[in-house]
């Protein structure tokens, strides 16, 4: 099972393990389970979604990472892969979908458009990065990124999940009862979305 993150003596742990007794911390087993069953939300916005679909198919086989169960409802999803250009008209809907997801939840910004607006950055209708409104965990550059790049992004996210603490001052938002998870949905304004960004940490 790899290195078990607990304060127990490693030799004793190996000895017990050989006899079929696995000793580990609750945090380790909890994160291990979560990181191997990341269920993404089934939605795509542009051409990056085609690469995302290709990643789930037999050739690249996202199922190897336990992340093949695309959920058609945000209520059942752990991961939002923002795959493609987010137009200003679509941005409030993306934020609303993110708000509807249950904690703990993660966001991957896939491709140049989702990161920064990409080639459409100077236009009038494309959001200059989805991180203006919701917090992004992993950025995958590319236009569009290859399926290998998305797999690498998923592995980076798995690593991030495995390293999250359940207790302590640097614990993530979902483990902190006091933490704010308020991500206001922007309104359509006369020139741009109102507000033009959300202030969050």
């Amino acid at each position: 099972m790899g290195r078990m993150n607990c304060s127990m003596d490693q030799e004793l742990q190996n000895e017990l393990s050989n006899r079929g007794v696995h000793v580990t911390s609750l945090e380790w087993i909890y994160n291990w389970g979560r990181s191997n069953s990341i269920w993404p939300m089934q939605f795509g916005l542009a051409c990056c979604a085609i690469e995302m679909i290709a990643t789930t198919m037999a050739r690249y086989d996202l199922a190897r990472f336990g992340a093949e169960v695309y959920r058609p409802s945000p209520r059942q999803a752990d991961l939002m892969i923002v795959a493609g250009t987010v137009t200003k008209k679509m941005a409030p809907l993306v934020v609303r979908l993110y708000n509807q997801m249950a904690e703990p939840k993660y966001v991957i910004a896939m491709g140049a458009c989702a990161i920064s607006g990409g080639p459409f950055r100077d236009g009038y209708n494309v959001l200059k990065g989805i991180d203006l409104y919701i917090p992004v965990d992993v950025y995958i550059p590319g236009c569009p990124p290859r399926p290998e790049a998305l797999l690498d992004g998923i592995m980076k996210l798995q690593k991030k999940i495995r390293e999250q603490k359940l207790l302590g001052p640097d614990r993530p938002r979902h483990a902190d009862r006091e933490a704010s998870c308020d991500y206001p949905v922007p309104d359509y304004g006369p020139n741009d979305l109102i507000p033009t960004c959300n202030a969050y940490t």
Partner: protein, 197 residues
């Protein structure tokens, strides 16, 4: 292949008083087009669709063009040698233009390019809708209305198509200025810095 000039003569034969002008294209594509006066547009369009020799039954594309006001230069050689620097004459008034690409599915010819122009770029921006003639123009005329602000008289449902209802302005106009990038990213960075500190 029937040329734009032939189509123009054919239409003028049926309707001698129709305002229909040939705009020739000297580019290698040679795609001549027909500029139709707004008041005759619906009649001419119906004729193009129903005439047994033309049968332009399919409108594949509708788009808009913004022609800002610009100086008209006298072609080289037409001005006396000493006056070449002062050859610019009065500014050509600006206008909006709608372009329709027509094909005939039954007679297998096309495209025929049909154009209409508004009187100016400010207050007289109404043109007749050709959606009653070609139903496929409905969404595309809505798009032209959305992005160029051309009002189509007779359109069944003239609402914005791409931008949201509350949006003001028409972003494909040449004088449209999008929100400056600094207005978005700088408050975002400032807010984030405040939260980190």
């Amino acid at each position: 292949m029937i040329s734009a000039e032939q189509i123009r003569e054919h239409v003028l034969h049926a309707r001698p008083d129709a305002g229909l002008e040939l705009i020739s294209n000297l580019c290698p594509s040679c795609q001549d087009s027909l500029l139709v006066a707004a008041e005759d547009a619906v009649e001419v369009a119906r004729l193009l669709r129903d005439d047994p020799e033309l049968r332009l039954d399919y409108c594949s594309n509708v788009t808009g063009v913004d022609w800002p006001e610009r100086p008209v230069r006298t072609p080289p050689g037409s001005a006396p040698a000493g006056q070449r620097m002062r050859a610019e004459v009065a500014a050509r008034p600006g206008c909006f233009e709608v372009v329709y690409h027509l094909f005939s599915m039954s007679l297998k010819h096309g495209p025929v390019v049909l154009r209409m122009r508004t009187e100016n770029r400010s207050d007289r921006v109404r043109l007749p809708s050709l959606t009653p003639i070609w139903h496929s123009a409905e969404f595309q005329e809505r798009e032209v209305f959305d992005l160029y602000g051309i009002r189509f008289d007779g359109h069944p449902d003239l609402r914005r198509l791409l931008m949201w209802e509350e949006f003001e302005g028409h972003p494909m106009r040449k004088d449209y200025l999008p929100p400056a990038e600094d207005d978005v990213r700088e408050p975002f960075a400032a807010a984030r810095n405040r939260m980190v500190q």
